[in-house]
C-alpha cells in the first residue's frame, strides 16, 4: 500500500466530511427542510454555484475516460472535449433569469416541480420522475464503479473493500447534509480539480521535455495524432461536431444541471457563476485532455484508458503531490455521485411521494423519509456495484443522451414558447427516449446514421414532436404573466 499517496487523499476526504457535518448543523436550524435539503434554500452565491455545476458535470468520464481516449486519439479528442466550454455559459444564459423567476413563482424545488406547474399534467410528472429514477440511478451506479476502481488502483485494496470505502464516504455526508453540503463540497472539490489538473499538466510537460519535443515525438509515432481526425483518421467533422449537442448545448436538458439553475440567490450570483463557470470548465477540460495526449510519449503502451491519469500522476509527481492531484478525479466522481443520489431521492420523495402518495405528510415524516430514501438508495447502488448486472451498464449508455432528448424541449420551450402544452411535452419525451433507444441499436448494427452521434436525431425529432402536438391538440397560449386581478 502506498501511504505517501494515501495520506493526502484521506486528509481530503476528512475535510469533505467536516463540511458535510458543518452544513448539517445549519440544516437542523432551518425552517424549510424540503427546500433546504434538496435546494440549499436558494441562496447559493456565484462561486459555489459555478463550482457545483462544474463539479457535477465533470464526472469520471472527464477525468479518467476522456483523457484516456485523448491518449489513444491525439489532439482530435481534445478538440472534441473543448465543445464542453459552451456548457459553462449556455445553460445559465438559456435557462437564466426566466427559469429562476418562474421556479420561484411556482415554488419549484425540483425540475419536475417546474414541469408540473408549467404543464399541469400528472403524466408529465410521472414520466419525468420515471426517466430520472431509471436513467440517473444507472448513471450513478456507473460512477460508483469508477470511484471504486480509482480507490482500488491507489490503495491496492480489493475492489469490494474499495467500493465499501467509497460508498461510506459518499453516503455519510449526502444523507446528513443534503444539497447545501453537496454544493459546498462541490466548491472545494472544484477548486481541487482546478489546481490538480494544472500541476499535473506542468509535470507532464516537464517530463516530456517541453511541448515542441512532445509534439515531435507524436508526429514521429503517427502524424495523425496531431490532426483533428484522430489516430486512424476516422474522427469526422460531422461526428465531432455532433458532440456539441451531447456534451455542449444539450446539457440544458440534464435534470442534475437544470436543478442548479434554480438554486441561486440573485442575479448577481448568476452573473458571477456564468463567468467563473466558463473559465473553470474550459480550463479543466483543456488541461485534462492535453495531459492525456502529452502522456503518450512520456509513458507509451498504457492499454486501459482509465488508468492513464493515475499512472502518469504516480510517474511524474512526488508521491504526496500525486495523492493530492488524484484527489481531483476522486472529487469529480464523488460530487457527481452525490448530486445524482440527491436528485433521485428528491424525485422519489418530493415528486412522487409528496405529490401523489401523501400530500399532507408532516415535517417530521418528510425528514425521516428523505434521510431514509437517500440512505436506502445508496445501499442499493452499493449492492448493484458489487456485481454490476448487464442491464445497468446498458441503461447507463442512455443516461446522458436519453435524458437530454427527453427533457430539453419541455424545459426550454416550456419557458419560452407560449403555445407549448402538455401534449407536446408528453410526445416530446416519449419520442426522445424511444428514438434514442432505436437509433442506438441501429448505430451499433450499421455504424452511425448520417455519421453523427446517437443523440443528434432524437433531439431534432423530439423538437418536431413537441411543436406538432402542441399545435395540433388543444392549442392554447400559456399565460406567463401574473394576472393583476389575482
Amino acid at each position: 500500500m502506498n501511504y505517501a499517496v494515501l495520506v493526502p487523499m484521506l486528509a481530503f476526504l476528512l475535510i469533505i466530511f467536516f463540511i458535510g457535518y458543518w452544513s448539517s448543523r445549519k440544516l437542523s436550524a432551518s425552517s424549510n427542510f424540503i427546500s433546504d435539503y434538496f435546494l440549499g434554500g436558494r441562496e447559493l452565491g456565484g462561486f459555489v454555484l459555478a463550482m457545483t455545476m462544474v463539479a457535477t458535470y465533470g464526472s469520471a468520464s472527464s477525468f479518467l475516460g476522456g483523457p484516456g481516449t485523448a491518449y489513444t486519439m491525439g489532439f482530435g479528442w481534445v478538440l472534441l472535449a473543448m465543445a464542453q466550454v459552451v456548457t459553462g455559459y449556455f445553460v445559465l444564459m438559456i435557462l437564466g433569469k426566466k427559469y429562476a423567476i418562474m421556479a420561484r413563482r411556482y415554488k419549484a424545488i425540483t425540475m419536475i416541480d417546474f414541469l408540473k406547474a408549467r404543464y399541469n399534467s400528472t403524466i408529465v410528472v410521472l414520466l419525468s420522475a420515471f426517466s430520472i429514477i431509471v436513467f440517473l440511478f444507472s448513471a450513478m451506479a456507473a460512477q460508483w464503479i469508477g470511484g471504486a476502481r480509482l480507490v482500488e488502483s491507489l490503495t491496492g485494496l480489493s475492489y469490494n473493500s474499495s467500493l465499501f470505502l467509497f460508498a461510506i464516504s459518499v453516503l455519510v455526508y449526502v444523507t446528513i447534509g443534503g444539497f447545501r453540503a453537496v454544493a459546498l463540497t462541490d466548491a472545494v472539490q472544484g477548486a481541487v480539480m482546478l489546481v490538480g489538473t494544472l500541476v499535473l499538466l506542468i509535470a507532464v510537460i516537464i517530463a516530456g521535455g517541453g511541448i515542441p519535443n512532445i509534439v515531435n515525438d507524436l508526429i514521429n509515432e503517427n502524424p495523425n495524432l496531431v490532426t483533428p481526425y484522430g489516430a486512424d483518421g476516422n474522427l469526422t467533422a460531422a461526428y465531432v461536431s455532433s458532440f456539441w449537442i451531447l456534451v455542449g448545448v444539450g446539457v440544458v436538458g440534464l435534470p442534475q444541471i437544470a436543478v442548479r439553475a434554480m438554486s441561486y440567490k440573485n442575479s448577481r450570483s448568476m452573473h458571477r457563476a456564468l463567468i467563473i463557470g466558463t473559465i473553470v470548465t474550459g480550463f479543466i477540460m483543456l488541461n485534462m485532455h492535453l495531459i492525456g495526449v502529452f502522456a503518450r510519449p512520456v509513458m507509451p503502451g498504457i492499454e486501459i484508458g482509465d488508468k492513464v491519469i493515475p499512472l502518469i500522476a504516480l510517474e511524474t509527481l512526488p508521491p504526496w503531490v500525486a495523492g493530492i492531484v488524484l484527489a481531483a478525479p476522486m472529487a469529480a466522481i464523488m460530487s457527481t455521485v452525490d448530486s445524482l443520489l440527491l436528485l433521485v431521492s428528491s424525485s422519489i420523495v418530493k415528486d412522487v411521494y409528496l405529490n401523489y402518495v401523501k400530500p399532507d405528510a408532516t415535517m417530521k415524516t418528510i425528514k425521516r423519509i428523505s434521510f431514509g430514501v437517500t440512505g436506502i438508495l445508496g445501499i442499493i447502488v452499493f449492492l448493484l456495484a458489487l456485481n454490476p448486472p448487464e442491464l445497468l451498464i446498458f441503461l447507463n449508455l442512455f443516461a446522458f443522451g436519453g435524458l437530454e432528448a427527453a427533457f430539453i424541449w419541455p424545459i426550454v420551450l416550456g419557458l419560452y414558447w407560449k403555445w407549448g402544452n402538455k401534449y407536446g411535452a408528453i410526445a416530446s419525451m416519449a419520442t426522445g427516449i424511444m428514438s434514442y433507444i432505436a437509433i442506438h441499436f441501429y448505430n451499433i448494427e450499421n455504424g452511425n446514421l448520417f455519421g453523427v452521434h446517437t443523440v443528434t436525431l432524437p433531439v431534432l425529432l423530439s423538437l418536431a414532436a413537441f411543436i406538432t402536438f402542441s399545435l395540433l391538440i388543444d392549442r392554447k397560449a400559456y399565460q406567463y404573466n401574473v394576472q393583476l386581478n389575482k
Binding site: 465543445a83 449556455f90 423567476i101 420561484r104 511541448i211 515542441p212 442575479s267
Partner: protein, 88 residues
Amino acid sequence: MEETDWRFKIAHREAWIGVGLALFNFIWWFGFAYGLGSRPVEEYSYIFGLPDWFFYSCVVGFVLICVLVIVIVKFFFTEVPFDEEGDV
C-alpha cells in the same frame, strides 16, 4: 389586456445573446479546426509547440470566449429581482 413582465423582456434578450454566443463559439471552433487542420501535417506551423489549428481553435478560442462572456455579462446583462415583490 395583459402586460409582459418587464423582467421577461430582459430574460428573453439575454437568452438570445446566449444562442448567438454559442453559434459564434461553434463557428470559430469549427472554422479554425477544420479550416487549418485539414492541410497535410507537413504544412502545419507550431505556436508554443502546439499545432496551429489547435492553438487557434481551442486555446485562442477558449480565451476569446472567456473575454466575451465577461464583457457581455458586465455590460449587457441587467440585474433583476427574482422574487415577485422583491427589491434585491
